[in-house]
């Protein structure tokens, strides 16, 4: 009961709501910042230029290297063309992405969050623009606190104007992954594009502007599920951004009594550069995206104070604990956890590869007519009719030959084209098209009580050396009803 009373004493003073404390990030330079910038530029360059990469697939087929053509239900991925029935490969790629993320996180913490996540990349880009126009942390804080002036208004407008155009090009480039890039750009500016294109450009422009300009670290902290279950991915052996408390504490900066204090001079440089506005010295936190900008910031201070650098560093919790106790511990990159992730990754990669390489270039289906089930012929033979659907998933027109096994005297014809009966029929199907044909099959069925037997349709594509089978039923009156 005491606990309850304690809680009641505590709660009135603890608000459950926290206003956002605006994060003013300070500029920083150093190896980590350089790496982060390089990765940012690379990711942005890939995003904006990839739709313009061409890939010749022959006449009548889009020549964009990566095009997700939802309108025509085709995904063009470099040398591959994915049809709706190949969508399981996409599932495989997503699983692959997820496991890769697990593996990298278990080894190196949230480097995805810190360097390559679109939210991080665009937030970083927007912050760079902000710093370029409005100045660094102290200048911005001072200006924001000051009353409105023409200068302040102009700078703010300029910033938002630039942000808007970056957001617009981001949303616009997104559309280029779905509609041929040169065409959609031309249509967009001449007001001839599909209304969907305008809607989604508007939508992604707005979300980019809001998420990268305004919401920023709140997306990571409150909206994204990843930080919430990252704790399941890494452990005390993961290499993460760590403040070496055993070296730094007790923090302080009294000049004369150096012995009393650790290396940390409590200058808050690490806090000022943090894009999520946290204090890394508080230990592992959900908000930390593992970008390591605090490492650069701290190293400069250590250098100036003539102390050992890397007070904040990349290290594992286990090694830090050992160091605090004066021991040395080895890195354990290979652990059961990482081994399992590697195994799952290998298995998944193999499955996706096999899926890609054995992806059929033709699919066949044979559907029996609902009525009539059969018709008798003059000579006592039986005729059945089918609808044959052949999907030519290759990039060129193809010719297929169909024959039937399992029926005596089997003869086929394509009654909608010509009436000639022969042991095999031929289909010509254009590139990337599903052909539907009505096929008549006649022959002498086996005498069976139920009047049904299996027949095997065989389709061969001689140039490609492909052959496939489809088992269908052949109906006849059946011996029970014969007179």
């Amino acid at each position: 009961m005491n606990a309850v009373h304690d809680l009641e004493k505590v709660t009135p003073n603890t608000s459950l709501y926290a206003n956002r404390a605006k994060v003013y990030t300070k500029d920083v330079y150093g190896p980590v910042r350089t790496a982060k910038s390089a990765i940012m530029v690379f990711c942005l360059a890939v995003y904006y230029t990839l739709p313009w990469l061409r890939w010749n697939r022959g006449p009548g087929v889009p020549d964009q290297a990566l095009l997700l053509d939802l309108w025509h239900e085709r995904f063009y991925v470099f040398g591959f063309v994915l049809w709706p029935q190949d969508i399981y490969l996409l599932t495989g790629l997503l699983i692959l992405g997820a496991i890769s993320l697990f593996l990298v996180t278990s080894l190196f913490g949230r480097v995805w969050c810190g360097y390559t996540c679109p939210q991080t990349v665009w937030t970083d880009l927007f912050m760079t623009v902000e710093r370029w126009i409005e100045g660094d942390r102290n200048t911005r804080m001072k200006r924001d606190a000051a009353p409105w002036s023409w200068n302040k208004l102009g700078l703010k407008l300029a910033k938002h104007w630039l942000w808007f155009w970056i957001a617009f090009w981001t949303g616009g480039a997104w559309m280029m992954y779905f509609v041929d890039a040169p065409r959609v750009v031309g249509e967009f500016w001449t007001l001839r594009a599909d209304p969907d294109v305008y809607f989604f450009t508007f939508l992604f422009t707005t979300t980019t502007y809001l998420l990268a300009g305004w919401a920023r670290e709140q997306v990571c902290t409150y909206m994204c599920p990843w930080p919430r279950f990252q704790s399941a991915m890494f452990d005390e052996q993961s290499i993460i951004v760590t403040y070496q408390g055993w070296r730094g504490e007790p923090r302080g900066h009294a000049r004369n009594t150096v012995e009393k204090f650790g290396d940390c001079v409590d200058c808050d440089a690490c806090v000022h550069v943090c894009p999520t506005g946290i204090d890394i010295r508080d230990g592992v936190q959900m908000e930390c995206i593992n970008c390591g900008l605090c490492i650069d910031a701290c190293n400069h201070v250590m250098e100036k104070m003539d102390r050992e650098p890397w007070l904040i560093t990349w290290d594992t919790l286990a090694r830090q604990k050992a160091k605090a106790e004066g021991r040395h511990e080895k890195l354990h990159l290979i652990r059961p956890r990482s081994a399992i992730y590697v195994a799952a990754l290998t298995l998944c990669t193999a499955l996706v590869l096999v899926g890609f390489l054995t992806k059929s270039t033709t699919t066949l289906s044979v559907i029996h007519d609902r009525a009539p089930m059969f018709v008798r012929l003059k000579d006592g033979g039986i005729r059945n009719a089918y609808t044959v659907k052949i999907a030519n998933k290759t990039q060129r027109a193809a010719t297929y030959v169909m024959s039937v096994m399992g029926l005596d005297g089997a003869k086929l014809s394509l009654p909608e084209q010509n009436t000639t009966l022969s042991p095999s029929v031929q289909f010509s199907i254009d590139a990337g098209v599903v052909g539907a044909f009505r096929v008549v099959l006649q022959g002498q069925p086996q005498s069976r009580p139920d009047g049904r037997q299996d027949v095997n349709f065989t389709l061969t594509n001689a140039p490609a050396g492909e052959s496939m089978h489809y088992r269908a039923l052949f109906f006849s009156p059946g011996s029970e009803k014969e007179n």
């Binding site: 009525a371 018709v375 009654p415 007179n483």
Partner: protein, 289 residues
């Protein structure tokens, strides 16, 4: 009624002033931007109600300032489709049937149109997809009474069989039994002679006599080997396809008192292009020659 509005010590927010047995509520109204969004939605709804059909009346409804109607929209689409269909059908009407069959674009329209016309007009007798039944020929087999070429089928559909049309396919099978041309015993032996062709067991009559009777009475139309004749619409008898049944009794009944089907002359009900489409469709069922 608010009784006493006070300031909450912890949050600094005013209370609503209500007191429920000591429980008080903080007054935290909706954010104003949220509230204005509601007002904007209400305004939007009013505008939409004015622009579009919205309010029902006693004998009508508010048509809206834009005069929009989903029915008119649907009808516009329907008329557009009708126009395109009419164009294609006009093309089919002025193209000979053999030429239509060689044109994949016209063929697509013809088969689609023919399929639905067949289902609406021909299916009641000939069955789904021309599966046929007793008295009504199956259309997907290889037996044709009046010919299975495109032009033959088109003529049959146009003028009908034993219909009111002067150009109809006409033929008559004598009532050998009812008109006393043959007596019952003779009819039985003819039946035994004919039934053997498709495996009906003879019932001890004089088959040789039956053969002679067939040659004298039936071969003129049905052919000396029962191969049938399309000139007279006489079905082949040496086949496994039977219009009026395949048992011995069926043969006896047909010879005694023949049934002869009538097919309407469709030129009285359908236009040339439509009939041509149906002919192409029937030809494509599998039996076309």
């Amino acid at each position: 009624m608010p009784t006493k509005i006070e300031k909450d010590a912890v949050t600094g927010t005013e209370t609503t002033g209500h007191d429920w047995d000591g429980v008080k509520e903080l007054n935290t109204p909706l954010p104003s931007w949220w509230l204005y969004l509601f007002y904007a939605c209400i305004g939007w709804a009013v505008v939409m109600c004015l622009l579009y059909p919205s309010v029902p009346g006693i004998s009508g409804y508010w048509h809206g300032l834009l005069g929009y109607s989903t029915r008119a929209e649907a009808m516009r689409g329907w008329h557009e489709m009708q126009g395109r269909h009419a164009d294609a059908m006009a093309q089919i009407t002025k193209t000979p049937i053999e030429q239509v069959a060689k044109d994949p674009v016209l063929m697509e329209t013809a088969l689609t149109s023919g399929r639905s016309t067949f289902a609406n007009n021909c299916q009641p007798c000939h069955g789904q997809n021309g599966s046929g039944r007793v008295g009504y020929p199956a259309l997907g087999d290889d037996v044709w009474l009046w010919g299975g070429k495109l032009a033959d089928i088109e003529t049959t559909i146009t003028h009908g069989v034993r219909s009111a049309d002067p150009l109809a396919r006409q033929s008559l099978m004598p009532s050998f039994g009812a008109d006393n041309i043959l007596n019952p015993a003779e009819i039985q032996s003819v039946a035994d002679y004919v039934g053997v062709w498709w495996g009906v067991t003879p019932e001890g009559t004089n088959v040789a006599a039956g053969a002679k009777l067939f040659a004298d009475n039936c071969a003129a139309c049905h052919g000396d080997r029962g191969q049938g004749s399309r000139d007279f619409g006489a079905p082949p008898l040496n086949a496994h396809v039977h219009l009026y049944g395949e048992t011995r009794n069926d043969i006896v009944a047909q010879v005694t008192h023949p049934r002869m089907g009538v097919m309407p002359n469709w030129n009285a009900r359908l236009d040339t292009g439509t009939i041509r489409s149906v002919a192409l469709y029937v030809h494509s069922l599998g039996g076309g020659e």
